[in-house]
């Protein structure tokens, strides 16, 4: 066992995601408090791994890891954790991290704290602050045992603290990656022809409160008047009311528009992850207790249809 922290970074198309830097930065802080080292783990060779401020960086290079493969990545991480027996293994609670963190927890019989927003050291161990029940509650949990997995929400820590130039040590895969049951076939690009919501300066974003597919038109009208594009929260996309290219949030896209006008979005944590960087957030929701009002700059408890229609007349 050690007091080290292992950060499982994530990358795509040759770029690390912000959450990787956020985690490395936090890991350094924790390692310091615990008297250990913060090591970044890069699974896959196709990326320049000399970008972290970690105490060390390990890059596992294997042909089988050239693309994200949940089975292969999980096996590699498992082997590394077994080998290093760190105090804490940090993942991003992201579409890739979510595939591995809980699996590893069950596999190794070590605790896992998901939806983590903050981690602090207390009495030689760690205490994790987690977002629970769709953001309605916050739980503070202390993992038992010698190793703990912490899966953090993107955007929880500053990314700058993790940026550096630590030279990565390239290693071969610590496990045999032949005979995988899961094979990567191809990337699927977003359906062509649709707008790129990440490139927009203004978004009118609709949530479950829009009620039905028929009402999307109203948002489209409003967006057209504002020179904006319609985006949406996950339930709207899952229901098939808008294409997936319009989804903002954890499993959708991260956006940073100048204006983010939210109609009927209550503000689930997964959604907030994707839009809290917007410059001006205005939220309209009928529920005065909607969590979005804790994040938005301006809010109104009102009927979104009435407001949208009234705005259409004024614009």
């Amino acid at each position: 066992m050690s007091n080290d922290i292992l950060v499982i970074t994530e990358h795509m198309d040759g770029k690390f995601s912000d959450v990787s830097f956020e985690l490395v930065g936090k890991a350094k802080e924790l390692a310091k408090a615990l008297g250990g080292q913060a090591a970044a783990v890069v699974v896959g060779g196709g990326v320049d791994a000399n970008v972290f401020a970690s105490d060390s960086t390990i890059q596992v290079d294997d042909a089988a890891l050239s693309q994200f493969n949940p089975e292969a990545y999980a096996k590699v991480v498992e082997a590394l954790v077994k080998e290093k027996s760190p105090k804490v293994v940090m993942f991003g609670w992201t579409v890739t991290g979510m595939d591995i963190a809980a699996w590893l927890s069950a596999r190794l019989g070590v605790p896992c704290a998901a939806y983590a927003k903050d981690v602090r050291v207390e009495g030689g161990g760690i205490v994790v602050s987690c977002q629970a029940y769709g953001g309605k509650l916050t739980a503070e949990v202390a993992p038992e045992g010698e190793t703990a997995i912490v899966a953090c929400l993107a955007g929880s820590f500053p990314a700058e603290a993790g940026q550096g130039a630590t030279a990565a040590e390239k290693i071969a895969s610590p496990v045999d990656l032949s005979g995988l049951k899961m094979k990567f076939i191809e990337m699927v690009k977003p359906a062509g022809g649709d707008v790129d919501i990440t490139a927009q300066t203004k978004l009118v974003s609709v949530g479950r409160g829009i009620g039905g597919k028929e009402n999307i038109e109203l948002a489209e009208e409003l967006a057209a008047k504002l020179g904006a594009v319609v985006s949406a929260s996950r339930p709207v996309v899952d229901a098939g009311w808008l294409p997936r290219t319009r989804q903002v949030g954890k499993s959708g896209l991260k956006v940073k528009p100048k204006l983010y006008l939210m109609l009927g979005i209550s503000g689930a944590p997964e959604h907030l992850e994707g839009m809290k960087g917007a410059e001006l957030i205005i939220a309209i929701n009928t529920d005065k207790k909607a969590p979005i009002f804790n994040v938005a700059h301006y809010g109104a408890t009102a009927d979104l249809f009435e407001v949208a229609e009234a705005m259409l007349e004024l614009l």
Binding site: P111, Y133, L137, M187, L280, N294, A310
Partner: protein, 251 residues
């Protein structure tokens, strides 16, 4: 094709979630089916409709009220439903995943589906844990599964419509993000018919696992900021928003 869908009964987050001590006050909260489970059930039924097979839906009955969700699954096209009678509303994901794995073990599943996540997955989701306990590979964020004879083509979502296709040999576990089609509506008469005629197989919980997390505190989040609220009628709200946008050169 033998598909098992593992579901989770969770406290409703439609209202405030009440707290008692360091955990949710399970006595004064309604339990509902995890919304992602509706998608995994839909995905399973779609496969069954496409290539045939059976769909078994299994969940841990935490408060003795799981039957309705199971009858609903039957009405939507599941063939068999099983509940693990735990009667422990506080059972965490590890515990549930262990019990589910023990029950699923003998079912000869080609595929096991679970919702990609649930709002009470504080210690992680049951899908990857079931995979770990059953020694199957796991893939999450799944938006479509096409079953071939002994493998499946699985689409995993990354972000904003981008994703990747994988070929996965059976058996495996998939965490379903969204079914290719919105979950169907099950008319209540069918659900009630199922309630009268169908049998819910009962299984006693077997095995033991723990999240290894000690709950130190559970409370509504400390609100750090709050939006400046615009008061008045909808018309007034609209006027103020438009004014605000104009002042910032956004309209």
């Amino acid at each position: 094709m033998n598909i098992v869908v593992a579901i989770k009964h969770i406290p409703s987050i439609a209202d405030d979630v009440p707290v008692k001590g360091n955990n949710v006050d399970f006595d004064s909260v309604d339990f509902v089916l995890n919304e992602w489970d509706e998608h995994s059930i839909e995905q399973a039924v779609l496969i069954k409709e496409a290539v045939g097979g059976t769909v078994t839906v299994i969940g841990v009955d935490l408060i003795g009220e799981l039957d309705n969700a199971l009858h609903l699954a039957l009405a939507k096209g599941a063939d068999k439903v099983v509940k693990i009678t735990a009667d422990d509303p506080a059972a965490d994901s590890h515990m549930q995943a262990k019990w589910l794995s023990e029950a699923i073990k003998g079912m000869g599943a080609n595929m096991v589906f679970a919702g990609v996540q649930a709002s009470n997955d504080l210690d992680g989701q049951i899908g990857p844990m079931i995979a770990a306990y059953l020694d199957m590979p796991y893939i999450g964020g799944v938006s479509s599964v096409e079953a071939n004879s002994d493998s499946a083509t699985v689409n995993k979502e990354f972000a904003g419509g981008a994703g990747a296709k994988y070929s996965v040999s059976m058996p495996f576990v998939a965490g379903v993000q969204a079914a290719p089609k919105p979950p169907r509506y099950a008319p209540v008469s069918k659900v009630r018919q199922m309630a009268q005629s169908a049998t819910v197989e009962k299984v006693a919980p077997s095995g033991d696992a723990s999240s290894g997390l000690t709950f130190k505190k559970m409370a509504p989040p400390v609100v750090t900021g709050h939006a400046e609220m615009i008061e008045g009628s909808s018309k007034e709200v609209a006027a103020k928003i438009v004014e605000l946008l104009k002042s910032k050169g956004l309209a």
